[in-house]
Amino acid sequence: MSIGARRLVVGAHYGLRDWLVQRATAVVLAIYLIALALLVVSSRPIDYDAWAGIFAPLGMKIATLIAFVALAYHAWIGMRDVWMDYVRSTAVRMVLQLATILWLAACLAWAVQILWRV
């Protein structure tokens, strides 16, 4: 489907960029998750003070926020692929894609609030 005479608005015609971003964000998330798991395991037995202590330093807040941004971008590309594969109606797909973006942006804003309250 196109909007106007020649603006094609369907398909993953975003070149190599999204493909590459999905891999890059995957690496960021893998490193962050493994590091967080090691941090949690090394501070066992874990209670509130130990758990909150992990996220208290500014460096950890920033690392966690970067991980959340990577997560949102990664999830966006993945969900976009899912919508493109299974939803045939362009109009419905566009609505779902926009909803996905808004949803992820909201989650990201919430994550900032959670992190900076610790």
């Binding site: 893998a30 998750l33 509130y48 989650c107 994550a111 959670i114």
Partner: protein, 131 residues
Amino acid sequence: MPQRRAIRNIGITDLVRYRLPVPGVLSILHRVSGVLMFVLLPWLLWLFDMSLRSEVGYQRLLQVAGGWSIRAILVVLAWAVLHHLVAGVRFLALDLDLGMTRPAARRSAWIVFAISLPLAAWVALIIFGVL
């Protein structure tokens, strides 16, 4: 011109008897686990919020996570994260043209399950308080 056989997508009812090879099972589970995490993301953020908000919130989280149904969801989520992560590492290796032959791809798919399933079982034991 030789007549080519028409190739069509299989119907949704054929899915039950369609025997997917192990890398195919890994791949569709990668997608299923991804969608699952996307859907449950707000719920996870809610738990994350509760855990960090205060000592009281942390204790409330432990209470909430005490129920069997919540623990079951957490186990499924833990499996989703682990499968997505380990299978994702395999996909990154494939992107680098590593293990591209069919036997190698099947072997690496089995290895992914051999890593992710025991890890998920271990986390499940922790979640259910056995460990």
